[in-house]
Amino acid sequence: MVIDEMPDERIAEWALGLVKADVHAFKRARARFLRQPSAKRLHELRTTARRLRCIHEDLREAIPPFSLKRLRRLIDLTGEARDAAVMREALREALDVRERRAARKLLRMLRRRELLALKHIARALEHVRPQQP
């Protein structure tokens, strides 16, 4: 934490404003996802969480410290759910009709993986409650 060492307080003020906006966006996405999960809301949750992580990487010298451990875990889980859903969709799109039977097992496995990740996300969200700095 080096706000006191910053030569220019305007940077700290600017950085804080950016973090507040990102935290607000994340909290809104979190609430929307918890209210009713959907692919669109999962994407929103994932994007806002990643923006929060990126702003920390860019401006960590200028903002109050916050732990990224739970946020990283959440980003990993949303990635698992998203990857499984996208792979399923891509497989369906590319699937040759003669290989439909052989693909069933993989499609089922991807669906299971997605559902499991979604369950873990809901649990992880109980522990990720970023406060406005």
Partner: protein
Amino acid sequence: MKARHVDLSDSCGVDDAMRRIAIVRFAEVLTLVPALRHGRSMDLHDLRIACKRLRYALERYTPREPALLEAASRLGQLQDALGDLHDRDLLLLAMPKDLHVSAQRVRMQRDDALSRARALWRDAFATYGPFEGLMRFTGLGYGFGDGSAS
């Protein structure tokens, strides 16, 4: 790939801090761009992450620096193409051997995504192209585009 540290300790003002961050993030992208030429999955994945970091940074600055808007938008397109490619790579790894006809289709989609990403990159450096504002803002990227992705 871990993000490089941005030293803001002696920066003077918000514009200078913005520039420093953009320089570090753009340099990360430029370092990784040979991946577009050789097409290795892991390196392309790293390039996609670097594009994302740079785009997020630029999007934060566009209210103060609208000239960066076009670069942010182009980076989003690049990220989409590289994302499609990455999804196909993951799928190919998971596909059993008896899905060989479908796997061939997935490989073709991967190649299409790579061609799309290469074209988007090359075109970004054209005169008055999407990266013009970013190059002026950071002083980086001159000499890229010509053959760097073909």
